[in-house]
């Protein structure tokens, strides 16, 4: 079997995400975003600044990475923790196929639970500007998939992937990203914000060329997936001795 994707792993992946309580959170996050957008629109009306802050501060910075973290950690970490990943690995399938199939499921989660809700929230907030919602939707999609690749890599490198992922989001992307301008060169959220800027004609990040942000996103996705596959090729399954 040398296909890029395995339908069986995709199917199992979908069931494993929604077979756990974490799956429910995936529905809650986008609902919160849309509910808040409706609230903002009702209270403030059609306001460019308010809309921008809601979709960036809540959508791109919080919801998108959290959806990525939930989807990815539900896909890989539990199976690695309890050893059941050995049933996927003890098969004549390329490890990269396993990773690609799992990331496809994660990317689908990003579309359904992050990109589309962000797009909808954008349409709610700015009925006058279609590009606003589209830009944020596209940024959410690209940033979300990049986050999935990062978290997938964390899942195969450490048993504390969720905790480390959260710390990374809070400290690097959140705290330091807000304080230090230089972080934009190494920040998935800022790269995706640059994408939003271009499509929606906004100014979320200053002085970050699109010609840098887009390749950087692509590189993170490819390198994260590749490194995850490489680690799975050398997966140690040790007993309870």
């Amino acid at each position: 079997m040398s296909e890029m994707l395995s339908p069986t792993i995709v199917r199992l992946g979908v069931r494993s995400i929604f077979g756990r309580w974490r799956g429910a959170l995936l529905f809650v996050l986008p609902l919160v975003l849309i509910a808040l957008s409706i609230l903002v629109r009702a209270l403030v009306g059609q306001d460019a600044t308010g809309a921008e802050h809601t979709l960036y501060g809540l959508g791109l910075v919080v919801i998108v990475p959290l959806v990525a973290l939930l989807a990815t950690s539900g896909l890989l970490a539990p199976e690695i923790d309890d050893g059941s990943i050995s049933y996927l690995l003890a098969k004549p399938i390329s490890r990269y196929t396993i990773v690609a199939s799992k990331l496809l499921v994660a990317a689908a989660c990003i579309v359904v639970f992050a990109a589309v809700p962000v797009l909808l929230a954008g349409l709610v907030l700015r009925t006058d500007d279609l590009g606003f919602g589209l830009g944020f939707g596209l940024g959410a999609l690209a940033g979300g998939i990049a986050y999935c690749a990062v978290f997938a890599m964390l899942s195969v490198m450490t048993r504390h992937a969720v905790v480390i992922g959260l710390i990374y989001l809070l400290v690097w992307e959140g705290l330091l990203g807000g304080l230090l301008d230089g972080v934009r060169w190494l920040s998935v959220t800022r790269w995706s914000a640059e994408l939003v800027d271009r499509v929606a004609g906004l100014e979320l990040v200053d002085d970050l060329p699109l010609a840098y942000a887009v390749p950087a996103l692509a590189l993170v996705i490819v390198a994260g997936a590749w490194q995850t596959g490489r680690r799975l090729r050398a997966f140690n399954l040790t007993g309870d001795e």
């Binding site: 079997m1 395995s6 339908p7 069986t8 792993i9 199917r11 199992l12 069931r15 494993s16 077979g19 309890d82 050893g83 059941s84 050995s86 049933y87 996927l88 690995l89 003890a90 098969k91 004549p92 399938i93 390329s94 490890r95 090729r233 050398a234 997966f235 140690n236 399954l237 040790t238 007993g239 309870d240 001795e241």
Partner: protein, 304 residues
């Protein structure tokens, strides 16, 4: 006919040696990997199934390396020790998924065959989360057998099985061995191993301690000299008295006190020692077996 060859393999975790210079060949038929808990059995099976790299040495299946070589799983089935499965699937869905992952032409039929073989047909449509320990063990077996592998590795497969399931699994393993498959299972219980395995490999403290059929291993155990350290109220007297007995092959006074003793006939020695000590009014403070290798382990295994 397939063969796993382990050639001068060691494996250590940081500075702890789990497997120490082991060389063995696992051929067709049923082989039992026997040893106490923590002897390195799971580490060996992990290396034989491509889930762990040896620190030194090579592990091969029919000449092919097992590490970083997913193609070996075409002819290898693994039943891991850990219980975790895809609990949200039914037994049948799980086995079918395994068949699909192997790229079998008719996954449904292959799954039915494997499920029937391990007698799980009645429970196949229940969710795995409702399964008992023994049922989990059997559905794991089905998933490992679904592609009809030439080599089957099982890590502690009898754990958690009731006597009837145990008998059935033993029968199944014997049949598979008789069909010319290479079957290896690990156990810390001698009684299990001797009932199924044609060949027994004993692992103790990471070393390959013995190899052969059950008779050969029992002979090896009883023929070996037993070593002890004694601390007594009069070492010199006790040593000379013991040396006069036929059950003792050698005695040496240690400079730090105590006697190093080698007994050739353990049964007789254990009977003679207290008798002689009392007859000569020597007090025994300590009798410690120092040869930790085979016979102490063997008695441990037999006592299980």
């Amino acid at each position: 006919m397939s063969e796993i060859r382990i050639d001068h393999v060691s494996r250590w975790y940081r500075n702890v040696v789990a497997v120490n210079d082991v060389t063995m060949t696992i051929g067709p038929g049923v082989t039992g990997l026997l040893g106490p808990n923590g002897a390195g059995k799971s580490t060996l099976i992990a290396m034989m199934s491509g889930f762990l790299a040896p620190s030194t040495g090579t592990v091969t299946l029919d000449g092919e390396p097992l590490w970083r070589n997913e193609q070996v799983y075409r002819k290898l089935g693994l039943v891991p020790e850990r219980e975790a499965l895809f609990d949200y699937l039914t037994g049948r869905q799980f086995v079918v998924a395994n068949a699909e992952l192997h790229g079998l032409a008719d996954p449904g039929a292959a799954a039915q065959r494997a499920i029937a073989l391990i007698e799980m047909t009645d429970a196949q449509d229940r969710e795995i989360s409702t399964y008992s320990k023994g049922m989990r063990q059997r559905i794991k077996m089905a998933s490992a057998l679904v592609h009809d592998p030439a080599v089957l590795l099982l890590d502690e497969p009898f754990n958690g099985m009731d006597p009837r399931q145990r008998m059935h699994l033993m029968e199944l393993l014997r049949t598979m061995g008789a069909e010319g498959r290479t079957v290896l299972f690990s156990s810390h219980i001698l009684e299990e191993v001797e009932q199924v395995a044609r060949q027994i490999e004993v692992v103790v403290a990471g070393r390959h301690a013995a190899s052969g059929d059950f008779g050969a291993i029992r002979r090896l155990m009883t023929d070996r000299p037993n070593r002890f350290v004694l601390r007594t109220s009069d070492d010199r007297l006790m040593a000379s008295v013991l040396l006069a007995d036929a059950s003792v092959r050698g005695a040496r006074l240690r400079s730090e006190g105590g006697i190093e003793l080698e007994a050739s006939d353990f049964g007789r020695f254990s009977e003679v020692l207290p008798r002689l000590a009392r007859a000569h009014a020597v007090r025994l403070h300590e009798v410690t077996p120092t040869d930790e290798s085979l016979e102490s382990v063997f008695s441990y295994l037999v006592a299980q």
